[in-house]
């Protein structure tokens, strides 16, 4: 009788109307609701990033720069549904995963995950947004001097040969799964994007005139707006990575909020100390550092740890950006200086602030796991990106020629102008 009652209860209560032969997995509508929301929030980060990056370049490149984010949204959007999900979360085959069932997402059309109780498609879409945002982040490193065609091909292949394998290793059942903690993508997303950005910035060389000519943000209002959307979207990014709607979700959201606030505050305090001014760009840079640093750690540290990580990340990233100025390489929007550095600090630093919990490995073991994850991510992303960049540059071309760079990407690549309002019309 117990069984009968339970089944009745299942069917009546759990809001699920799809039952499977043999096994009965009811959708948890609440968790599903939050994961759908998270998916939407992470998607919101893409226009957020477009605004953030777009506002920082010169007027003549604003559309071209925004298009980098948007292009990722569509190119990776398609690739992911076709084969990306399969490569990341299919059955493990060493270098990457694969599962013919996941091809075109056909086999998961109506399936529900037994543990999280959300439809598999929701998870696939949530993860897809991460795959979209990662190459979009890289674009900041070589902003203002890259061909659109080359960029599109680059991110498509990069996603296949760098992102998908890495995500598989860390999250999808690959050889790092279960050792390195990477809650929402410190290594997979920020370190890999940061390192790829650095490699490309170095390989493609600086913009004409850099660093002699000052290159002003064309629209800080836009950058601040984008930063706001990024903060908001990051709640989906981190809290969604719990793939639940419960206590760990709440924990992740809390530390995300605290780390972002701390990072921002730290950066403007540094500026206030050194220059007696607090800039808005400093604010959002610190905020970003805080958000990135907490990304790998969001499920596993507490408020005090988040504050500590936020402070450290802001200080180190501030230093990294200054160092770039000294070293005179042209990582246009500091993808390495902020995403790369904060990602590394977060991935390794989280070990020091882990929430006490049964069954954790020893401190040093965990520290080694983390370091290993970081190193593998750096080396793999670095090497493969370099090879890929060389191939694309030599074939279809990646770096914009000088004339087009001077006309600006908007005119030369897209035949458009960002701000018609500047003209009389």
């Amino acid at each position: 009788m117990k069984t009968i009652i339970m089944l009745t209860v299942f069917i009546l209560l759990a809001g699920s109307r799809v039952l499977f032969a043999g096994e009965t997995i009811a959708v948890d509508t609440g968790t599903t609701a939050w994961m759908l929301t998270s998916t939407t929030l992470v998607l919101l980060m893409v226009p957020g990033l477009a605004l953030f990056y777009g506002g920082l370049v010169r007027t003549k490149n604003v559309i071209g720069t925004m298009m980098h984010s948007f292009a990722a949204m569509s190119i990776i959007g398609v690739i992911w549904a076709i084969c990306g999900y399969s490569m990341c979360f299919g059955d493990s085959h060493g270098w990457c995963g694969w599962n013919w069932d996941f091809f075109f997402l056909k086999g998961i059309d109506a399936s529900v995950n037994a543990e999280t109780r959300i439809p598999d498609l929701v998870f696939a879409m949530f993860q897809g947004k991460f795959a979209i945002i990662t190459p979009a982040l890289i674009a900041g490193a070589f902003a203002e001097r890259v061909k659109f065609r080359g960029y599109c091909v680059f991110i498509a292949i990069w996603s296949l040969v760098v992102y998908n394998p890495l995500a598989h290793w860390v999250w999808g059942g690959g050889f790092l799964t279960g050792t390195a903690i990477d809650f929402a993508g410190g290594t997979v997303i920020h370190i890999s994007a940061g390192v790829a950005g650095l490699v490309l910035a170095l390989y493609l060389g600086a913009r004409r005139g850099y660093p002699k000519i000052a290159m002003h943000p064309n629209n800080l209002v836009m950058t601040l707006t984008g930063a706001g959307l990024l903060w908001v979207g990051w709640f989906g990014f981190n809290a969604g990575s719990s793939v639940a709607s419960g206590i760990q979700t709440a924990q992740a959201l809390t530390v995300t909020q605290v780390a972002a606030a701390t990072g921002a505050l730290t950066w403007i305090l540094i500026e206030a100390l050194l220059h007696k001014k607090a800039t808005s760009l400093g604010f959002v840079s610190g905020m970003l550092a805080g958000l990135v640093v907490i990304t790998p750690a969001a499920g596993d540290v507490q408020v005090a740890g988040a504050i500590a990580l936020g402070i450290i990340a802001s200080i180190v990233c501030y230093g990294a950006v200054i160092a770039k100025g000294k070293l005179k390489y042209d990582d246009t929007l500091d993808v390495f200086g902020i995403h790369g550095m904060a990602g590394i600090i977060g991935a390794i630093g989280l070990t020091f602030f882990l929430r006490p919990m049964d069954g954790r490995p020893e401190f040093l073991t965990q520290l080694w796991y983390q370091t290993q994850g970081v190193l593998i991510s750096i080396v793999y992303a670095g090497v493969v990106t370099f090879v890929l960049a060389v191939i694309i540059e030599k074939t279809i071309g990646l770096k914009l020629n000088e004339t087009d760079e001077m006309s600006g990407m908007d005119h030369s690549l897209h035949s458009e102008h960002g701000y018609g309002l500047l003209n009389l019309n």
């Binding site: 000519i213 000052a214 002003h216 943000p217 540094i270 500026e271 050194l274 220059h275 001014k277 800039t279 760009l281 400093g282 840079s285 501030y318 950006v321 200054i322 100025g325 500091d334």
Partner: protein, 114 residues
């Protein structure tokens, strides 16, 4: 008639405008421009001090009759300067000869129309 063109710092527009009005010069045309002179203003960009190549300035054009020229120049000189000693970047005044001036509304010409 003369055409006075002054390039001044943006934060002085309000004061110069007031000074001109006080000097009974009520009609002016103002536009944004960007200047490269000896001044070096710094912006902060992610912790680095950056001296932009081109600095925002304001351009004021005043068409006036000869007898008002000196008053106009004086008003600008006094109101556009930063502090007693002036600052690099305080700007310039250029004067050219204006051959004709026509009021579109009425078609009046010459000194009447200024």
């Amino acid at each position: 008639m003369k055409l006075i063109t002054a390039i001044i710092q943006t934060d002085k527009l309000e004061r110069v405008h007031e000074a001109l009005v006080k000097a009974e010069i009520n009609r002016i045309t103002v536009s944004r421009c960007t200047g490269h002179g000896r001044a070096a203003e710094t912006d902060l960009y992610r912790g680095q001090e950056v001296a932009p190549d081109l600095i925002s300035k304001v351009r004021i054009d005043i068409a006036c009759n000869e007898k008002f020229t000196d008053a106009a120049v004086k008003a600008i000189l006094e109101s556009a300067k930063h502090g007693e000693a002036g600052q690099l970047g305080d700007g310039k005044i250029f004067i050219t000869h204006l051959e004709e001036c026509i009021r579109i509304r009425t078609g009046e010409r010459g000194t009447e129309a200024i």
